[in-house]
């Protein structure tokens, strides 16, 4: 098992390197010269050249990459071109804000989807199954920012039960696990859960149905196990697939949703990405994408390891 984890870690290295190369080359993929973009129009050629040297843009590209990477692994992604503060100072609070939403949204959608998806599978073909399936399709296809706005209208504007936006009082950097902040989480978490809940429900339904078609389910019943125990076996067999899909959805959630974070004025990674693209703040963009991509690699790795733990047939020598 330890061996297997080590091997998976080794496999993750080339992926991680690929990610850094792509992030680095973002500078050269943009439509305009990154230096020109931040310099005022009237800047002299000599000034531009000085800045170019100051940021190391005059060196050969591989050297630039090596230097950038060395700084990046130490957490130094340079300074924001906009605020001139270290990128990490912008990134960490944004990531924390998004993580709070993402963890709750992933947990909520997973919990709902597993229950609802299993119920649908067990009542395959009945009205219950059809209702669940159409809700799942609706969850995936209805624009979630629209649902977010509707939720705000109903629960914030009309009923006044929940805040319409923001993360409670205080700046976006002071979070506390109190009632006020938790209330602020509810609407964005629900809005964000729609798509993952729909997708995980459909996956659960499909994999539970698949498992139920296997002969060993009959063996379990022939042994006289209670239906609850049979369900436990079925879910354990279905879990590797469901987990893989959940991991993927969690990865998407980490990227933050620009639309939802905009509706709720939630300063997360989606917000940050949007802003850095809009303002051509390349260091922030690079740093954010790199960190998010690393998170994604890490989530996938975790899912992989959990799968081997759940399904002994996956080779782990």
């Amino acid at each position: 098992m330890a061996n297997y984890i080590l091997r998976r870690l080794l496999y993750a290295i080339p992926i991680a390197i690929g990610v850094t190369v792509i992030c680095f080359s973002l500078i050269y993929l943009g439509p305009s010269d990154p230096i020109a973009a931040v310099m005022p129009d009237e800047a002299s050629a000599a000034d531009v050249q000085r800045i170019r040297e100051a940021y190391g843009f005059d060196k050969p590209v591989p050297v630039q990459y090596a230097l950038w990477l060395m700084r990046a692994v130490q957490g130094d992604f340079g300074n924001s071109l906009q605020s001139n503060r270290p990128v990490l100072d912008e990134l960490i609070p944004a990531l924390q804000n998004t993580l709070r939403l993402a963890v709750f949204a992933a947990a909520l959608s997973f919990a709902i989807a597993v229950v609802v998806g299993s119920v649908a599978a067990y009542s395959q073909g009945t009205w219950l199954d059809k209702t669940v399936t159409s809700f799942a399709i609706t969850g995936v296809s209805v624009p979630h920012y629209w649902v977010a706005i509707m939720l705000v209208i109903v629960f914030a504007v009309e009923l006044g039960w929940l805040p319409a936006m923001g993360m409670g009082t205080g700046s976006s950097r002071d979070w506390a696990w109190d009632a006020e902040h938790m209330k602020a989480l509810i609407l964005p978490v629900i809005s964000l859960s729609l798509i993952p809940a729909g997708i995980i429900t459909r996956t659960t339904r499909a994999s539970v149905l698949e498992v139920l078609s296997h002969d060993y389910v009959e063996t379990l019943r022939a042994k006289g196990l209670s239906e609850a125990t049979v369900l436990r076996h079925v879910l354990k067999n279905a879990s590797p697939t469901v987990l893989a899909v959940t991991g993927l959805q969690f990865g998407h959630l980490l990227g933050g949703s620009i639309l939802i974070e905009t509706v709720f004025v939630w300063p997360g990674t989606g917000f940050l990405l949007n802003e850095s693209i809009f303002k051509r703040d390349l260091p922030v963009l690079q740093g954010t994408i790199l960190v998010l991509a690393m998170f994604f690699v890490f989530v996938n790795l975790t899912v992989d390891i959990m799968q081997t733990w759940l399904d002994p047939r996956i080779k782990r020598d």
Binding site: T219, L220, R221, K223, L310, D311, P312
Partner: protein, 343 residues
């Protein structure tokens, strides 16, 4: 289905010293779906004595597996309509509540399946699959259940049993898996074991080993066994009594040697025709000309008549009753005497 009422009386009239452990009266099973209704079992009645081994022989699709599953009510609840009466060790299987039924399953009657590759849960170890069964039916602790699991693996002669407890199904060969399956089925010392072609999917040498093991365990534990097979050799090896199934009915029944030496029903005769006595070992059932009946539209007549070389017009007038030309022998054919004198 009044046509089988005569049979029910016949069975209850049979004198027997010990009460039977299994008694099936006029069992009917049909599968209902939107497109069609499949009449899989059409009036099956039989009894099984304690310690007896009964073999069910028959072509593919004749309803052997469905009959066996009906004895545990192990059929899809939504699609399968079961009628008749099934008594196993005093339990009226078809009217038990779900929870009472789950008590009977595994404890009084259990089943082993054809495909050891797919019949075991791939994500639980062999040991876990045994202990959960034991602990479901008996109030014993984890350690005691594990000790029992080890004992069971030794009983079914799995080498290095201790290590195998932790093994997952995919880590075992087909033969070992089938032994593990048997261990699970026997984990609560059931009184009746149902075996649905337990050796068909295995290599020839492994088949014999598993068969010998089953026979030995049956003797040691004094279980009653119902054994479904295609294989005449297997039936001859293990069975006290043979019943031949055709079109969802038992068309012939009798002691193994008698049926094999002197088949009554034309269908059984056909099955045995290619087999030379004493050399029937490992012989598969020879196919008889014509095709098996369509189970969606069974005629109110002898369902074998279209393929029977002795058939006359009278055979199409109704489903033949069970005739008993000799003690302990019976066959569903109206021309038994005439055919008997022909050969």
């Amino acid at each position: 289905m009044a046509e089988t009422m005569g049979l029910v009386q016949d069975v209850s009239a049979t004198p027997s010293r010990v009460p039977p452990i299994v008694q099936v009266d006029d069992l009917h099973v049909r599968f209902v779906s939107k497109d069609a209704t499949v009449y899989a079992v059409n009036g099956v009645s039989f009894t099984l004595d304690p310690g007896e081994v009964l073999c069910i022989l028959g072509e593919s699709g004749s309803g052997k597996s469905v009959t066996l599953r009906a004895l545990m009510r192990l059929l899809p609840r939504k699609r399968a309509v079961i009628n008749g009466r099934v008594i196993v060790d005093g339990h009226d299987i078809l009217s038990l509540s779900t929870s009472a039924l789950s008590r009977v399953r595994g404890e009084i009657v259990s089943m082993i399946f054809q495909e050891p590759m797919t019949a075991l849960d791939p994500v639980y170890s062999i040991g876990e699959q045994i202990t959960e069964t034991v602990r479901r039916h008996e109030k014993i602790g984890r350690a005691a259940a594990e000790a029992r699991a080890l004992e069971l693996l030794e009983l079914v002669q799995i080498p290095s049993a201790k290590r195998r407890l932790k093994a997952f199904p995919h880590e075992l060969s087909g033969g070992l898996r089938q032994r593990a399956m048997i261990a699970i089925a026997l984990s609560c010392r059931p009184r009746v074991l149902l075996a649905d072609e337990p050796t068909t999917a295995l290599d020839a040498t492994v088949q014999i080993q598993i068969l010998l093991l089953l026979r030995q365990l049956q003797k040691e534990l004094g279980m009653s066994v119902i054994f479904v097979t295609h294989d005449l050799g297997v039936a001859g090896e293990i069975a006290d009594r043979i019943t031949v199934m055709y079109g969802g009915r038992f068309v012939e029944e009798g002691p193994t040697t008698a049926v094999m030496r002197d088949p009554l029903h034309p269908y059984t005769r056909g099955l045995l025709a290619s087999t030379v006595h004493g050399q029937m070992h490992r012989e598969r059932l020879r196919t008889i000309e014509g095709s098996p009946p369509n189970m969606e539209m069974l005629p109110a007549a002898c369902s074998f008549a279209p393929r029977c070389r002795y058939a006359v017009d009278r055979c199409l007038e109704g489903v033949p009753d069970l005739h008993r030309p000799f003690p302990n022998r019976s066959a569903r054919c109206i021309r038994l005497e005439e055919i008997g004198s022909m050969t």
